[in-house]
């Protein structure tokens, strides 16, 4: 990214002078993100250095490190393999019911992956529900779902939407006249895709893949249920045994790994071109494949959504009369979830704009540093970030400690890269000549940004908002640490039911979670309608 990026016009002096306002804003955002890290460093380095080194270099730690690396690599590859074709199908083709499928394939993002994993184990475990269905056919045991393959499967199903949503935003704002040009040059459709579309959506896909990879790296619940041993387990064992400081030190290791992945991603991004955006052409007709193409789309959404819902509902039906009264569902939980998630999405987008804009438009050391820093909060497990804010909140911000303000702040720090990644990819696709043209027509810089650039990046903006919204809907560890007393969201309610074994009663909030998230996605997609056509 850094040095490689050259704006198309090399009007001397233009690229290096950073605009003051956005720079200050981006610096402020970076400072906020780095705040928790100060506590991590202070606490982590309180651990005896020797014991830390001993813990990190023992063979078992190295083994789980390799396991983690394998899991991250395979899952990320699978997410790209699923997310990009889905995005292409739902944006560029005449697939039937595209809006419905757009929402359906985005929704797996709101299912907490531990719920998904638990449902899959219940359904497809060696002697789970699916086996019992097949038992009359003489099938006594299904193949093991536990282990690497199963973990990759589950995590892919619940993280591919990162790639899907960012790739979708990028495809939507892509200049398709280039495709026409390629076609007139006698490229066939595949060749056109490879030589025109891929380079254009590459930054977005890389951003989405990065989000998937980092999510997988910091996840603990799924590998634990799937009985696959990963690095985060070392951290959680420390947390579970009150070895907070060691856990924090290990989380710093996770940040180090993240830095490596960020570096890797910046290599993969490759040459980032800025192109004229927004001119889009008619959809690609699928012809006789139009209806068959629905099948893989439905299969992915079905597997990710229907399995957990079906399992939860079957438990709900089985335990209908044995409901726990403390777990009676209230609609206020849904309102709480939507309120904090919408607030987090709005703030994350506003905070993400200066960071993404500077990095995409100007490049250079400082803007790129701001952009990379935004990933720090995302790289540590939620409970670690939550604790860091517990520290700052209780010590320096007592009036907002255990209030929604600090909670939303935590969400923003945690999920900022989701809006930054999506926005940055969109800013990259805006031809700088367009806002400059607006300037020559007498617009102020702010006016040009608002009237020209912002509408052009709208798909990325709403894509980023959607990502933050959906992931906040399911965020649990920081919510548990920072929520006000008595504040229940859909996910804390699911957790409460799940934690005490009332799985059936997790079904209602889970269904409401899907329904409300689906509805919210609809609203977000409507807003997108204001994008340029």
């Amino acid at each position: 990214m850094a040095g490689e990026h050259q704006p198309i016009d090399d009007d001397a002096g233009h690229e290096d002078r950073l605009p003051l306002g956005p720079s200050i804003a981006a610096a402020a955002v970076s400072a906020a993100v780095l705040l928790p890290v100060l506590w991590l460093i202070k606490t982590g380095f309180g651990v005896g250095f020797e014991s830390a080194v001993a813990l990190l270099t023992r063979p078992r730690t190295l083994e789980v490190f390799v396991n983690s690396a394998l899991l991250v690599a395979l899952t990320t590859a699978a997410c790209v393999a699923i997310g990009v074709p889905l995005a292409y199908l739902t944006v560029r083709t005449d697939l039937p019911f595209r809006r419905f499928w757009t929402i359906a394939v985005s929704l797996p993002l709101v299912i907490p992956s531990y719920v998904g994993a638990f449902a899959f184990v219940s359904a497809f475990g060696p002697q789970g529900g699916f086996q019992r269905l097949l038992a009359p056919l003489g099938i006594e045991r299904l193949p093991e779902i536990y282990g690497l393959e199963g973990t990759v499967l589950i995590l892919t199903l619940y993280t591919y939407p990162y790639v899907y949503i960012t790739a979708r935003a990028s495809l939507k704002s892509m200049d398709t006249t280039l495709i026409d040009a390629a076609r007139t040059l006698e490229h066939d459709r595949w060749e056109t895709f490879r030589r025109v579309t891929v380079p254009q959506i590459r930054p977005a896909v890389a951003a989405g893949a990065l989000l998937s990879a980092l999510y997988v790296l910091a996840d603990f619940g799924t590998p634990s249920i799937m009985r696959y041993d990963v690095f985060t387990r070392v951290i959680f064992v420390e947390f579970g045994t009150f070895g907070r400081d060691t856990a924090v030190l290990l989380s710093l290791q996770l940040i180090a790994v993240t830095v490596f992945i960020l570096w890797l991603e910046s290599r993969i991004r490759g040459e980032e071109r800025t192109t004229a955006g927004g001119r889009s052409r008619a959809l690609v007709p699928l012809g006789r494949w139009r209806y068959p193409a629905v099948l893989p789309v439905a299969a992915v959404a079905g597997l990710a959504l229907v399995v957990p819902v079906a399992i939860l509902v079957s438990w709900l039906l089985a335990t209908g009369t044995t409901a726990n009264q403390s777990l009676v569902f209230e609609w206020s939980y849904a309102i709480n979830s939507v309120t904090v998630s919408a607030a987090a999405a709005a703030v994350a987008v506003v905070a993400g704009i200066p960071v993404a804009y500077l990095s995409a438009r100007h490049g250079g050391r400082l803007p790129d540093a701001f952009e990379r820093i935004s990933y720090v909060g995302y790289a540590v497990p939620g409970v670690v970030l939550g604790l860091a804010l517990v520290f700052f909140g209780s010590a320096y911000a007592a009036p907002i400690y255990q209030t929604l303000y600090l909670l939303v702040f935590a969400y923003v720090i945690r999920f900022l890269p989701q809006s930054v990644g999506s926005l940055r990819a969109s800013f990259l696709s805006v031809d700088p000549a367009l806002p400059e043209a607006a300037r020559t027509l007498g617009q102020t810089p702010v006016g040009a940004f608002r009237r020209v650039t912002l509408p052009l990046v709208a798909p990325g903006l709403f894509g980023g908002a959607a990502l933050v919204f959906l992931t906040t809907m399911k965020e649990l560890p920081a919510t548990l640490l920072l929520r006000p007393s008595g504040f229940t969201t859909l996910v804390t309610h699911i957790w409460t039911a799940y934690e005490s074994g009332y799985f059936g009663q997790a079904a209602i909030p889970a269904l409401v979670l899907l329904f409300v998230s689906g509805l919210s996605m609809l609203v977000i997609l409507r807003q997108e309608g204001y994008d340029v056509k």
Partner: protein, 390 residues
């Protein structure tokens, strides 16, 4: 899946598995006031639905139809003021009880914060002296002991401590147990009969029938407390040998003990190690025909009896209010509630467990260990790591 919910009518029927003193339960229960039309799976503790709240204080359980001993809430000091309770016990299990206590006093506001016990300890530690917490309510003695070791607790008044026998509280009075849970051995009845399960936990690695058939939960707090007990009772070398032996048997690793109990019932494995109530939860959901039963070992780490309990934090703004709240958790009403709402043991001697669980004095926990020793996890974790269990 559910535990019995402890309000209104709770009906349980436990069949005693004769030889192993194991318990098999089928439980059905209704939400209060739901009219008695639910499936009636048992009758012994059937209560009328229309329990009159006025009966509180009369020695009659407000949560069901029985007389309970102990000190009633009415006989306790009134609670007044604001109280922040960090609860490591789930809202589904104790939320109703906390609300019940709050409802008894017009001038009492309880602000509960629910999370896992370990995370709450981390939170309290991170908040330091700025912690808003007054009372910490924990699922196990280890979390309480950790706070006590870090000088974050206040000594409870003697008249609170005296509610339970001395083996269920901290020797220095830093915390007190409010309900109990026994270590146990869930086994699949299609694979084993009760007599196949050794009464000595140390004999497990040498039991060839368990090869490839046994599961454990090295990351789980109750399991770690159990290994800690083994270290104290049998010594480091024997524990190391046990851990290695179990791995030589091809032990399967699970995330928690509820998962273990389910896996045993599914026949995925045939035997495991778990707290006693997880087995009851699985049975409660699947019915008594599930091929799952409970065995107990005798007088060893495998039979350790742990407690859920509470402490008053050093940051408590009103220690009297806080310790009186803890006192209320030991009231006849609260003890009766635990017996019904979880499958736990009440710790106040005058309140019996509900159903046909073996009585607390029929269990055979080991001698020579006290619960406050179970918070010494550091050596346990390194042992688990050295042997490759973690």
């Amino acid at each position: 899946m559910h535990e019995s919910d402890g309000t209104g009518r709770t009906r349980r029927r436990f069949l005693r598995a004769a030889a192993a003193a194991g318990v098999v339960g089928i439980a059905g229960c209704n939400t209060p006031g739901d009219g008695g039309d639910g499936p009636d799976t048992g009758t012994e503790t059937d209560a009328g639905d229309g329990d009159d709240p006025d009966q509180i204080g009369s020695g009659r359980s407000p949560f069901g139809d029985r007389e309970v001993g102990g000190v009633t809430i009415e006989e306790m000091p009134d609670l007044e003021g604001e109280l922040t309770v960090y609860s490591g016990r789930g809202e589904a299990l104790v939320g109703e009880l906390i609300e019940f206590i709050e409802d008894q006093y017009p001038d009492l506001t309880v602000r509960p914060l629910y999370n896992s016990a370990a995370e709450l300890v981390n939170q309290i530690e991170t908040e330091g002296q700025n912690s808003p917490a007054d009372v910490f309510y924990s699922v196990n003695a280890g979390a309480l002991g950790t706070l006590a070791d870090r000088d974050r607790t206040q000594r409870l008044p003697d008249d609170v401590l005296e509610f339970v026998p001395s083996n269920f509280r901290d020797p220095d009075g830093a915390w007190i147990g409010t309900s109990g849970r026994a270590r146990s051995v869930p086994y699949n009845t299609d694979a084993f009969s009760a007599s196949d399960i050794p009464e000595d936990i140390m004999a497990f690695p040498d039991t060839d029938a368990f090869e490839g058939e046994i599961g454990w939960t090295p990351t789980y707090s109750s399991f770690q407390a159990f290994i800690t007990a083994m270290r104290i009772l049998e010594g480091e070398a024997a524990t190391r040998e046990w851990l290695n032996g179990m791995q030589d048997l091809g032990v399967s690793t699970y995330g928690d003990e509820f998962q273990i109990s389910r896996a045993v019932a599914d026949g995925e494995i045939s035997v495991g190690l778990a707290n006693h109530y997880y087995i009851q939860r699985v049975l409660a959901r699947r019915g008594s025909d599930a091929p799952l039963s409970t065995a107990f070992t005798r007088n060893d780490a495998g039979a350790i009896f742990n407690v859920a309990g509470a402490c008053v934090l050093d940051t408590a703004s009103d220690s009297t209010l806080a310790s009186n709240f803890v006192r209320h958790l030991l009231s006849a009403e609260a003890q009766d509630y635990f017996a019904r709402s979880t499958f736990e043991y009440p710790l106040v001697p005058d309140v019996d467990p509900v159903g046909q669980l073996p009585a607390i004095d029929e269990l055979n926990p080991p001698e020579g260990i006290d619960l406050s020793q179970l918070s010494d996890l550091e050596a346990t974790i390194s042992l688990l790591r050295e042997t490759g269990a973690l």
